[in-house]
């Protein structure tokens, strides 16, 4: 199912999207596909999978560690796209790929979006590619039929929010906290105003990520936003577990979130 169809179905049924994130190849490329399928089965509406990068400057310690483990295991961008392909053949849940800009640039942006599309990915998130620099990439992604998902932040002033809302495809990724990724015990309230502001500017879905770690946080975000993205808390849940145990823990964690969202 496409991203668009997924969000339309959710809107019709008055439900919110649950979007778990894991790092491709963490701890080994062979585990990622079964983890993603378990997340889909446990109730994820969209799957988000990362391409590891040596210098992930928007990420806190948990995702930095996940990237390091994945790189250590020899994970390449092509390997992550292969995993996406394997998963897309076995589930209808749409998949979005997150990568920092440099690995995509090195792969060749045009080649990358075509390969991502062939593998069945529905969207791409590039956390260090703001709309100003994204023109040619958006164009190439559009030709390949892939949504370019932009981020908005609590520090984005209204004119930027407007241009992000205009440029966004698939959904808008609203960064809940001024900071790096990572589970937080308490979310500062700043996301609420920002999401409301965005929702006044656009009818495109707005999903909130960064810092969300518990079912009750997810529930309160889902009351306002169209979706909830959970990454670091999920990765922390899996850290150190053997593959089979990790799959079990991942699906139990997502089930708990599913009940709340």
């Amino acid at each position: 199912m496409s991203l668009r169809a997924t969000f339309e179905r959710l809107r019709r049924t008055h439900r919110k999207a649950l979007i778990p994130f894991i790092m491709g190849g963490d701890p080994r490329p062979t585990v990622t596909a079964s983890l993603l399928l378990a997340l889909a089965e446990a109730g994820a509406d969209v799957l988000e999978v990362g391409i590891p990068f040596s210098d992930p400057l928007a990420d806190g310690p948990t995702i930095q560690r996940a990237s390091q483990r994945a790189l250590h295991a020899g994970t390449t961008p092509a390997a992550v796209l292969d995993i996406v392909g394997a998963v897309a053949r076995r589930t209808a849940v749409p998949i979005v790929v997150l990568s920092y800009w440099n690995p995509i640039l090195r792969y060749g942006a045009g080649r990358f979006v075509r390969a991502a599309c062939q593998s069945g990915a529905g969207g791409i998130i590039v956390p260090d590619l703001p709309p100003e620099e994204a023109g040619p990439f958006r164009h190439a992604a559009g030709l390949a039929g892939i949504a370019t998902i932009f981020l908005a932040a609590p520090t984005s002033p209204p004119p930027r929010l407007r241009s992000i809302a205009r440029a966004a495809e698939g959904f808008i990724y609203y960064v809940s906290v001024t900071g790096t990724t990572g589970a937080r015990d308490r979310l500062p309230g700043e996301w609420l105003q920002g999401v409301r502001q965005l929702k006044r500017l656009t009818t495109k879905p707005v999903c909130v990520g960064f810092g969300i770690s518990t079912p009750s946080q997810a529930a309160s975000v889902a009351r306002v936003a169209d979706g909830v993205i959970v990454g670091s808390a999920l990765i922390r849940e899996l850290e150190g577990a053997a593959p089979r145990a990790a799959v079990k823990r991942a699906s139990a964690f997502v089930r708990r979130l599913r009940k709340a969202v």
């Binding site: 040596s54 400057l57 956390p127 100003e132 932009f150 984005s156 001024t178």
Partner: protein, 396 residues
Amino acid sequence: MMTSLRVPNRQGHFGPFGGKFVPETLMAALDELEQAFAKAKRDPGFRRELRGYLADYAGRPTPLYQAKRLGRALGGLRVYLKREDLLHTGAHKINNTIGQALLAVRMGKRRVIAETGAGQHGVATATVAALFGLACEVFMGEKDMRRQALNVVRMRLLGATVRPVSSGTKTLKDACNEAIRDWVTNVRTTHYCLGSVVGPHPYPMMVRDFQAVIGREARRQILKAEGRLPDYLVACVGGGSNAIGLFHPFVEDRQVRFIGVEAAGRGLRPGQHAATLAKGSVGVLHGTRSLILQDRHGQILDTRSIAAGLDYPGVGPEHAYYQQIGRARYAAVSDALALQGCALLAHTEGIIPALEPAHAIGYLIRHARRLPRRSVVILGLSGRGDKDVDVIARHV
């Protein structure tokens, strides 16, 4: 073909290089900084204040000194040293930190952060933070904290907090990552005092403009001393701030040739050097598109140099542009040759250079024969060597 030397454009692009590749959270802060800088540049009050601190506090202008014994040892070159090593804190870094601290105060930011490799930029930031009463945290790789221990003590003495960085290669690249992460978190209250002509727009342009005082003075001084422009400018390049500061005011004097000297470390094999312009490929690191050292999957490679200040897998986008359009040439000098350069300057002139500019002297040792005799050369002596005596003692 005429290629534009008026760079960057309004988007911060130097030809195909430069730009802003950062998380959305920082975009508004970069816009704010760009506007504050543009406004300050037009403001006579700001310029007067900056000039005042550069003169009375930092010690500008620095001498342009003709190193006659060095010149003879190099086979008859007329070598002039631009003595940035004589500045307060011992390196050119203070030219930039005074400017940025004045901007931070104007923007109402009471906290500054910085990354540092050799510790010189960290010391220069801690210094101006003390001077203007700002809180200061400096991120420094653990490996660099060990090899530049003296500068760690200096920063702490100046009231700064030094935050050890243990991720990745534990050097400048990782210190940059951590500084950016801190900035993402505290962007509303904090100014990121970036120390080189790297990072997202407006940093490469702004740091260049603050460092261009080096070249403006040198141009005036050499005209007075020689009655003509120099044939060569030679300076070391890590991120490239002292080199661009020396080069930029001569950029339209096309007869003046620019030579940037990178660190070849233990030789130009992957992971053994920091010669980005020689061995790099196009990529994005720390918010700017430039040449970087990376593997075929776009992962950043480890670097190695005896000079902590050159140990960086990226380079300023303006240098990448100068190389592409042929306005500057870049060479790489090994650890061993840099140590020879250090010793030669110490023996012939009684000046102990930092290991970073020692690479530029190393370049002259290797290539002086190929330069026409009596060529006039200005060498950017970007810092003094006190911080390096431990490292040098281990190698000599």
